[in-house]
Symmetry: C2
Subunit: 208 residues, 2 copies
DNA sequence: GTCTATATTCGGATAGAC
DNA sequence: GTCTATCCGAATATAGAC
């Protein structure tokens, strides 16, 4: 069978993708070692067996590298959440969702930093990368809806709660589970409050 | 009256302190403009009418500058909290405390970043500076105790909640008050949960 | 404490050949 | 896409005079 033109394209595309994956992996490794802001393109090139200028075939600038990492981190997040089974019990499902998120953050501090904290001076995700972040927010919205939560104020409180747990876990007990273990309690606290507010508001404005 | 030696020392000490205060103020201004990690000692020297090497009379290294800023930020935090009246009603006092903290963070994103997020690669506060941070945590502990909260787990949940509100405020509505307005609701949610847990645990283990 | 002068290193980015 | 060669700018930090 003769080699067609599309075969060629596929093969080259694969090689390129593989190289890009390697670049990303080593970029994360460097970020762990030196800090996210201190990644050097020279070090990165060394680790992937390229000369430093050759990296520019994969991104336009250093901020472009951060954009690739941002997209990669969001892919990891989506995959992480979707790789876990979804319990039938809405309460348990929400508890496990929160636990997954806190673990995800504590598993990789710099990834948490890039995805959820704005710490790199002039970096803003490109529309394509940001779409992945939105995809996650939509997924989270659906998970909350399954537990009967859809009020915007409720969603804001929930997001603060999860973010706070993740942040405390990352900042004060990196690699541990001190705040992971509080996830169930936090969710119960939250759901009880949602119920409580629903009841008191239905008392006031029920007949209408 | 003759000029004594201690007068001289005081005067020089004051001049030095004034200069240091100016350096700090301009360092914050630069952090706002360029990002915390991107402060340049050249720019800083320009702004305080010094040559760049002269800054080394005030700190040993760039990390030393961050340490000064860290201490300064914690001073601001303590002063901010203590400048507000403390309500007699423990619930209201706690609500206002949380509002103050969220406002403090949203008032200055980079200060929040330096104080509560570990974002500068090799920076760790010196013992002296860190003591100020501990002073704040002790103050927060006392405020919680006034509301009847002292269980370590409760404190952990509370810290996550406040940190989460502050972070969401800073990240998603900088300068606004979307999450500040949720402080009261969050505190009520939290206190209700503390009560609820206290009751259920006193049922189980009351006689002893 | 502040200066001038300078060392030194390192960074990202470009030009142009292959 | 990858290379060599190089540019240029920026950074922190030090030496030594005043």
């Amino acid at each position: 069978m003769a080699t067609t033109e599309t075969d060629q394209v596929d093969r080259r595309g694969r090689r390129r993708e593989a190289k890009q994956a390697r670049i990303l992996a080593e970029a994360w490794a460097l970020a762990h070692r030196d800090g996210l802001a201190a990644i050097s393109l020279r070090d990165l090139a060394d680790r992937v067996d390229l000369r430093q200028p050759s990296l520019y075939a994969y991104f336009d600038s250093k901020l472009g590298l951060y954009d690739l990492m941002f997209a990669d981190g969001n892919h990891q997040l989506l995959e992480w959440v979707m790789s876990h089974p979804l319990s039938d019990d809405p309460r348990i499902a929400l508890v496990e969702f929160v636990q997954e998120l806190v673990r995800f953050s504590s598993d990789d501090v710099v990834r948490h930093q890039l995805l959820f904290q704005r710490t790199i001076p002039r970096f803003e995700p490109s529309p394509t990368s940001f779409a992945l972040a939105l995809e996650f927010y939509e997924l989270a919205r659906q998970r909350l809806a399954l537990a009967g939560v859809s009020d915007p104020g409720d969603v804001d409180v929930f997001s603060a709660l999860v973010n706070g747990l993740a942040h405390q876990q990352v900042a004060n007990d990196p690699g541990g589970d001190r705040w992971v273990l509080l996830a169930e309690r936090a969710v119960d606290m939250f759901l009880a409050d949602v119920d409580r507010r629903r009841q008191s508001s239905s008392q006031k404005g029920a007949p209408q």
